[in-house]
Subunit: 217 residues, 2 copies
């Protein structure tokens, strides 16, 4: 009986550690958080933390696996052929919610890279898939007459959209000294990314933006 | 005579050190270059290098002062009220040439920040001036009927243009593993930044882009 209790308790502790780390890393960045703080935040001792994760790198890798899972869920939420503006509004909101939930990966990319270099190829594969997906969605929006854009314009939008979505958090830090990202900043980032697409929207397509604005207002 | 020879020789050595460092830093980043390599590249011994610069931080600060000078020259090249498309073509080409000449500041911003934290407030002042200048130029282009954009659209363009211009080098590195920036990459970055403005150009304004394309073709 005792052995069974331990066996079910361990995965729970692991989940609690990861949840605490996501919160702490989002607040202060993975480089600034010590293993002592992690253990204290979970209410376990450092030996117990060490039992689950021998190095902080392993925590970052485990969190990245969760992030990857969320990323693929958001990408998969697109329905090919959809022409309801609400579908696109929800789809883009999904990306920005993901960024909010995992903001340390966006804000502290260089620190994550130094700490867990093995993630590099996972990150590349994820970005490949993500860009391919955004490309599909934009072609879908063109087919549904929500945007009017040539294939070359769509390529430019995929890359510029990716650069804005990846770096707006670092822009706020380096340009305005904003280190703690709040919900209002996410809305600001979403509006900047949306700005790229505004001139390509058809009158029907503007409904996507109007819906997004009324949702956050 | 000997004292005079030394007195005129010293500023020249200092300039040669800075020129060598700019080249080495552009090639490999300031963190990867050792003081031994710098001395060898200039053809002096490390004691002589130490006479001019006691720490690498001081070299980075001296190079930043040169960059700042170049930045203000590029910004000042705008003629308020200009309506010749060639003027705007040259003006934007000036910014991208500056990025090419000082690409390590754009590519290795995080390393520079760790190495020379005192530059932070200079960088902020420079970015404030740079954005104000781009804003003035875009209002100038609107007044000259080269673009058609509302003040809100101009604000969005200033920020998105800044994010693209600041981070496209890091995007090429993190996304495509491109660490050595070549001229062709500069053209790529310029085309991506230009892409932001395309939908706002009037038929007259398109001449700016046509001129830029024929200049790099």
């Amino acid at each position: 009986m005792a052995a069974r209790a331990v066996a079910t308790e361990r995965p729970k502790t692991r989940m609690r550690i990861l949840a605490a780390c996501r919160r702490l890393f989002n607040e202060r960045g993975p480089a600034a958080v010590t293993t002592a703080e992690i253990a204290a935040s979970v209410g376990i001792n450092e030996g117990n933390l060490y039992y689950h994760f021998q190095r902080k790198e392993q925590i970052v890798e485990a969190l990245f696996a969760e992030f990857e899972h969320g990323f693929r869920d958001v990408a998969a939420a697109y329905s090919p052929g959809a022409d309801d503006p609400r579908h696109y509004r929800d789809y883009f909101a999904g990306w920005f919610n993901l960024m909010w939930e995992w903001r340390f990966f966006y804000r502290d990319g260089a620190a994550v890279d130094r700490m867990a270099p093995r993630l590099r190829r996972h990150l590349k594969a994820l970005a490949d898939d993500g860009q391919a997906q955004v490309r599909r969605v934009l072609h879908g929006m063109a087919a549904a007459a929500l945007i009017r854009a040539s294939p070359q314009e769509i390529e430019m939008l995929v890359v510029n959209g990716w650069i804005i979505a990846t770096y707006w958090i670092d822009y706020l830090r380096s340009r305005h000294g904003i280190a703690a990202i709040r919900r209002e900043h996410i809305d600001w980032g979403a509006a900047q990314a949306m700005g790229l697409f505004l001139p390509y929207l058809t009158p029907r397509g503007r409904a996507v933006v109007e819906l997004a604005r009324s949702a956050t207002a």
